[in-house]
Structure formats: structure tokens, C-alpha cells
Amino acid sequence: MISTQNIRFAYGKGAQFNFPDITAQAGQSLLITGGSGRGKTTLLHILGGLLRPQSGQVLIDGTDLASLSENKLDRFRGSNIGLVLQQAYFVSSLNVLENVVLASWLATGKQATDKAKQLLQELDLTDHLHKLPSQLSIGQQQRVSIARALINQPKLLLADEPTSSLDDENAFRVADMLSHLAKQYGSALVIVTHDQRLKDRFPNQTSL
């Protein structure tokens, strides 16, 4: 589902990153670990099409990201890549359900309300559908962002330190839900993290 080749990236004249090639199939999980400053987030942004690499190739479901124009990349990202960030951001004026539905509308032009409700139910958020995101706990917010990342059944689910701000109980819960739902929706799951707790949870690992 996702494979990379010889990705290189540099911020100005500063640090130069040469990333190892990675691959992950549909339903598979891959944990990318590494300390601070090793370019974990940079790699994730490159995989998610938020950054363009200096050289190398990112293939997602057979599409080379470098071949897409800016606008097409936006649309491709919307419908094929789900992103869960370390800190969950929302459109703060919209409620939980609307935030998730919004992601489906942006990607497909249709509002998948029923599917969003179902996803939120699977993530144990049924009671919070009509709350504002700011009224939820951090763990709950993180689960909403998982729902939002999965609403379009992406080929690739990317997670950037999804558990680092969570306590043990919530961290494992989020990790379980991520791997479980990625499998269920047939998405390749790539997590970058330095969270020790996850290293025991995901056997398939690459280190930067």
C-alpha cells in the first residue's frame, strides 16, 4: 500500500535527512521510532504529502505523490491519507460529529453522517457527538481525531506521536483502536513515536 525509495530532505542548509525505505501493506502496522531531531515528523509529513522530498519516491496505492499537482495532492490526501497528530486539532466552532463529517465532505463532497456516527460509536464516543471538541478530555479528543482520520477509509493511516500526551490506560486504548480499526478498514498504519509503551505493542518496527 505504501512504499518509499531513497527519500532525502533538508531544511535549508541545515540537517540533511536520508530516510530508510519503508513499506507497509494494507492492514499492516509499522512503527517508526527514533529520538528527537531524527526527522520523525519530517518523514511523516513527507509520507502524508504535506512536505515534498528533495529526491526519492513515495508511492501510495500505486500513485507517486511527486506526480500530483498542489490541488490534486490536497484532494488525494483528503481521500487516501488519514492523519492523527500528537495534539488533536479541530474546527473549534463545530461539534464532534460535525468535525468528523466535515472530513468526509472535504474529501468526497458528500456528508457521511451515518458512517461518522458509527465510527464514533466504535470509538466509544456516542455520548459526545454534539459536544464541542474543547469540552472533551485529551484522550477523547485523540479518539475523535482517529475517527476523523478513518472516515474516508484511507489507504494510509499516519499517526504522529498519537499517545505521547496520554496516560498509560488511554495510550493503550488508543493504540489498540488504531491497529484494530486500520485492520478493519484495510489501511496501512504508520506510526512515528518515541513512546516506549508502543514499542512493545507493535512488532513491525523501523528505527531512524
Binding site: T41, T42, H45, G48, L50, L51, E70, N71, D74, R75, R77, G78, S79, L83, L85, Q86, Q87, Y89, F90, V91, S92, S93, L94, E98, L102, A103, W105, L106, A107, Q111, R148, N152
Partner: protein
């Protein structure tokens, strides 16, 4: 969907939004009010001077003469001698001349002695009854009839002067013979009778006063009166027919007959045949008589020029407020941009294009502006109806708040939208050019 998000966003910060909308509402309301006032004021003023080229009256302020005799809002400048006025009324340059004699009021509504021509001039047909003919018969304007519930056949006593509290003339009651149809002009708020009624009322009421030195015992003077009319006839034929007719009828009815000699009227509304009168009359009248001839068009123009300064100032104030509201929207959008950049980055991650973010910011601003415009249009009209209420009781001028001046208000809408776009340009471009990776990495 973008519009929905924009709508939810603006209400997520209710105080910012309220401030922007209030400012916009204020400026749009003021400008709308000015547009409507300007349009209707001028229309009202000009409709009342249609067919009146010159007003002949006592010396004094020409503007006062116009206001009192055409618009019925100011006190008259004084009286003029009827005989002298007649020589001018019968000048060959004059197409029509309508005498006006003020004296009394009924509950604050002026009773004006005139000829039935006055009704014709303002295009006031009669809704009911017939035109005043004999002394003390009156036609009541439509607005008064409606407000006071006056009907044909009613009788009432007038009070002296302009004030409703004036001395009551209890000797003669006015007799309502007709109700005028509404015209939207001054006639609606007047009670009209013939000129001799006004004289008779005052001959009686003010016995011993200078004005009625002769009239005090007018019964003896009936014969004399005939002579006076005959003298008057020498001046012109139009007047002859009318006066003689009125006279004979009054004889039939054995009514009191009033001598014209030494009698005074307040003003004469003149319409010329040609253009010559416009130029020559003011000078001729001033040189040869103690009267003055004032042009309503010119005086009203002068009045508007005076008004204009105030209206212009108010208009600049309104545009100033609009500028401030534009700045307020800009600051609101710009300030929230910092906290909202993650939101924008997130929308991009979820597949929103740059253009959609640009639109989002733009639509938020436009929603504010259009809401402000709608409120402003409504508030402006409410203000106008309030003003209309007070101006109607004070100046007998009412405004229609439901009128739409499409062209000017269209421009105003355009201007409001322009302000909205201008205020949103910088924030929108910032949202458009947001670097998502950087924004999310620095989180």
C-alpha cells in the same frame, strides 16, 4: 458547507461578531436613513411647489413666507392689503392666483381661507361632500378627517392664531361640507374655507381692533360693500365673476356680507404664463409695494443647501463608522488567525484546498457585512418611521419607511460588500498561503 462553517465560526466569537455587526448596522442605518430622507424630503418638498412659481406676501424673510404659505409650517410674515394684491393677481403675466388668508386653527390644524382652486392645484379631489361655497363652510384635509374622525355635516369652533390653545371663536361655527381625498401633500393637513369666512370670523371676534374698524357694523355697510366690489371689479374680470357670484348668493341667503375694503390676506400663490414674471416680479413688487414676491423653488434650494451641510457631515460620519467596522472585522479575523492556523492546517490535511480556506475567511467577513447590512436597513427604516411620527405632528410631513431606493441602496450594499472583502483580503491570503507542514511541526 463552507458557508455553514463560516457561519458557525462567526458565532463562536459572539463578542467580536457583535461588535462588527453593531458598527456595520450603525453605519448602514445612518446611510439608509439619509438616502430615504434625502429622496423623500426632496420629493415631498418639490411636490408641494408644483405649479407655484411665485408667492406674494408681506415683507420679511422670503424663506419664512414660503414655509408659511406653501408648506404651512412657519408663522406668516404678516398680512397684505387685498386690494393691492388684487392688482398684481390680475396682471396679464399671471395664469392663476390663489389667495390665502390665515387666521384660525382647529386643534392645531390651520384653517386657511382660499378659493376652491387651491384644492385643484394640489390635485385633491373630494372624497365626500362638496367644496366650500358659503361662508364658514369648510373642506377638511384627509389626514385630519382620519385623525379627528371628522365627517361631513360636523360643526366646530376655530381658535385664534396658530396654537390650539388660542382664543375660541364662539360666534361662528365652521360647517364641514366636504372631505378631501389624500394627496400626500400639505392639503391633507389643512382645513379650507373661503376667504370671506376668515374675515367674518375676525370682524366679529376682534371687534374694535384696527383690522375691523369698519367691519364692526358691517350690516350698515352692505351697500358700501357693493361699491367696494365694484371698485375691485375694475381691476380685472376673473375676479368680478367670482366675487359677484358669491355676493349674490350671500344676498339670497341673507347672510352677512363682508366688505373687501381694507381687508387683508396673508399671501397669494402665483402661477405665471411665461418666464418673464420669474425675473421681473421680485424687483417690481419690491419697488412698487410693501409686499415681496418670493420664488419657492429658489428658497427651497437655499434651504436644502443649508440642510446639505448637516446631511453631508452625517454622511461622512456614517462612512467613517463603516471604515471603523471594516477595521474591526479585519482585526477580528487577523487576531483569530493565530489560533486558527492549526484549524486551517487541519482542514488542509483533511483535503481542503487553499482556495477553500481563502473562501472560508472571505465568507465569514461577508456574512458579517451582509448581516450588518440587513440589520442596518431595518434599523434605518425604524428610525425613519420614528422621525416620520414626530415630523408629521410638527411639520405635517410624513415619510414612508417602506420605500426602497433601489439604486442608492444597491450602491450601499456594494460598498458594504467591498468593505467586507477588503477587511478579509490579508487574513484570507494568509490562510491561503499557510505552510501546513511547518504549522503542524511547530505545534
Amino acid at each position: 458547507m463552507i458557508t455553514k462553517i463560516a457561519w458557525k465560526n462567526i458565532w463562536f466569537k459572539p463578542l467580536n461578531t457583535a461588535l462588527s455587526i453593531i458598527l456595520l448596522t450603525a453605519s448602514v442605518a445612518i446611510i439608509t436613513l439619509l438616502i430615504l430622507l434625502d429622496e423623500q424630503f426632496e420629493k415631498k418638498f418639490n411636490s408641494n411647489i408644483d405649479g407655484i412659481d411665485m408667492v406674494l406676501g408681506a415683507q420679511g424673510s422670503p424663506l419664512q413666507l414660503i414655509l408659511s404659505s406653501v408648506y404651512q409650517v412657519d408663522a406668516p410674515t404678516g398680512n397684505i392689503d387685498y386690494a393691492e394684491a388684487k392688482t398684481w393677481m390680475h396682471s396679464p403675466m399671471v395664469k392663476s392666483a390663489i389667495p390665502l388668508a390665515f387666521g384660525d386653527n382647529y386643534l392645531g390644524y390651520r384653517i386657511v381661507g382660499t378659493t376652491p382652486e387651491y384644492l385643484t392645484k394640489y390635485g385633491a379631489a373630494l372624497n365626500e361632500g362638496k367644496v366650500f361655497d358659503k361662508n364658514f363652510e369648510v373642506v377638511v384635509g384627509s389626514a385630519i378627517a382620519q385623525k379627528l374622525g371628522v365627517k361631513v355635516g360636523d360643526k366646530f369652533f376655530g381658535s385664534h392664531g396658530d396654537a390650539a390653545e388660542g382664543e375660541l371663536h364662539e360666534d361662528h361655527a365652521y360647517h364641514v361640507t366636504g372631505i378631501a381625498a389624500p394627496t400626500g401633500k400639505v392639503v391633507d393637513n389643512l382645513i379650507l374655507c373661503n376667504v370671506p369666512s376668515v374675515w367674518a370670523m375676525h370682524d366679529h371676534g376682534e371687534e374694535g381692533h384696527g383690522e375691523s374698524a369698519e367691519g364692526g357694523d358691517y350690516h350698515e355697510h352692505e351697500g358700501h360693500n357693493h361699491e367696494a366690489v365694484a371698485n375691485g371689479e375694475a381691476h380685472g374680470h376673473e375676479g368680478h365673476d367670482h366675487d359677484a357670484h358669491a355676493e349674490s348668493e350671500e344676498h339670497h341667503d341673507h347672510e352677512e356680507v363682508i366688505s373687501e375694503e381694507g381687508k387683508e390676506i396673508t399671501a397669494v400663490l402665483i402661477q405665471f404664463r411665461g418666464k418673464m414674471g420669474f425675473i421681473t416680479w421680485p424687483r417690481l413688487v419690491a419697488q412698487n409695494t410693501k409686499m415681496q414676491a418670493a420664488s419657492p423653488a429658489r428658497e427651497i434650494n437655499r434651504l436644502f443647501t443649508l440642510f446639505g451641510i448637516g446631511l453631508d457631515a452625517l454622511q461622512y460620519l456614517a462612512y467613517g463608522i463603516m471604515l471603523i467596522s471594516g477595521i474591526s472585522i479585519f482585526i477580528a479575523l487577523y487576531n483569530t488567525l493565530k489560533e486558527r492556523k492549526y484549524e486551517f492546517a487541519l482542514l488542509r490535511v483533511n483535503g481542503a484546498s487553499r482556495l477553500q480556506l481563502l473562501l472560508l475567511v472571505l465568507i465569514e467577513s461577508l456574512l458579517l457585512c451582509i448581516t450588518g447590512f440587513v440589520f442596518g436597513t431595518i434599523v434605518g427604516r425604524v428610525a425613519l418611521s420614528l422621525i416620520s411620527g414626530s415630523s408629521e405632528s410638527e411639520f405635517k410631513i410624513s415619510f414612508n419607511p417602506l420605500e426602497f431606493v433601489w439604486e442608492k441602496e444597491g450602491y450601499l450594499l456594494g460598498l458594504t460588500i467591498f468593505v467586507g472583502i477588503l477587511a478579509a483580503v490579508i487574513p484570507a491570503v494568509k490562510a491561503y498561503s499557510l505552510n501546513i507542514s511547518k504549522t503542524l511541526a511547530n505545534a
